[in-house]
């Protein structure tokens, strides 16, 4: 006889409060930060024990896994999330495969030590890359609604959480935000915000 079990993870603390019946639920990530949602039974897929020591997969191999994941994502049919989601657009696949190849080049040529991203499909038929580390979170997405890359960057600093979102229109802008994620000093995302505000004001 089959029975259903439930495993409970650690709680994520959120920020602001809501209090009306006609409440607006956040449309986008519920403040999911670095390791904020940990499962008791985290899935261990690729770690192997070799000579008594855990074998950590090397980054190029992890990038290969991302290509494989993208390939799987392209096969998703309508309603793959049970909420009326759409198949992934070929343009989004091409865009993110190109970005992946470019990031691999940057790792080689510029020593930009960007880790392999976690890749997910988006319900509207796009693809999103995500990176997490101690106090930083970055996502870059290719969505059907735009030919640019959309991004969201978050950083936890002593004063609170800083969040920056917008559009990346060129490889240079992508490179800049990746440099921030890989090696930017604490709070440096704020400089990106100031720069974005200045750029907006000059238009």
């Amino acid at each position: 006889m089959a029975r259903s079990l439930l495993r409970t993870g650690i709680i994520t603390k959120l920020s602001s409060a809501t209090s009306s019946i006609d409440r607006n639920l956040p449309q986008f990530d519920w403040a999911i930060y670095e390791h904020s949602v940990k499962m008791k039974h985290a899935i261990q897929v690729d770690d192997e024990i070799i000579d008594g020591k855990p074998f950590q997969l090397k980054e190029p191999f992890l990038f290969c896994k991302v290509f494989k994941k993208i390939e799987q994502i392209t096969e998703l049919e309508s309603n793959w999330d049970s909420f009326n989601s759409r198949p992934i657009k070929i343009r989004c696949v091409s865009t993110m495969v190109r970005l992946l190849l470019t990031m691999m080049e940057w790792r080689e040529d510029l020593s930009l030590d960007v880790p392999a991203p976690f890749v997910v499909p988006t319900p509207d038929g796009g693809i999103q890359f995500e990176w997490r580390k101690k106090f930083k979170y970055l996502e870059i997405a290719s969505l059907p609604s735009t030919s640019d890359h959309e991004f969201l960057a978050k950083e936890r600093v002593p004063e609170g959480d800083i969040e920056l979102e917008g559009v990346l229109k060129s490889d240079d802008e992508i490179k800049e935000i990746l440099y921030w994620f890989v090696s930017g000093s604490p709070g440096s995302v704020k400089r990106h915000i100031d720069k974005a505000l200045l750029s907006e004001a000059s238009l």
Binding site: R7, T12, S15, R23, V37, S82
Partner: protein, 85 residues
């Protein structure tokens, strides 16, 4: 006939179903799990007191459930799995 409107209180919990594609190897849940239903401005959730996590997960082991605790502004992740006796 119009469906009955259920009032949501601050102490209520909500369940949000998500596909396992949104969980990374470390158990982190993607923000994409909380995006609106395609073509709408709404994110579909179940009122916890009217259902169970299993029903929200459609009794399907490929789905997990995020429990959103409105009063505490917290999310608890639940994964369903099947054990055979």
């Amino acid at each position: 006939m119009l469906p009955e409107i259920e009032e949501i209180f601050d102490e209520d919990d909500l369940y949000r179903r998500f596909t396992d594609k949104y969980l990374d190897d470390n158990g982190n849940l993607s923000s994409a799990a909380f995006q609106n239903t395609t073509g709408t401005d709404d994110m579909s959730v179940d009122l916890a007191r009217l259902t169970t996590p299993e029903r929200t997960a459609l009794d399907n082991e490929n789905y997990g459930v995020a429990m959103i605790k409105l009063a505490l502004q917290e999310i608890i992740i639940k994964l369903s799995s099947t054990a055979h006796q």
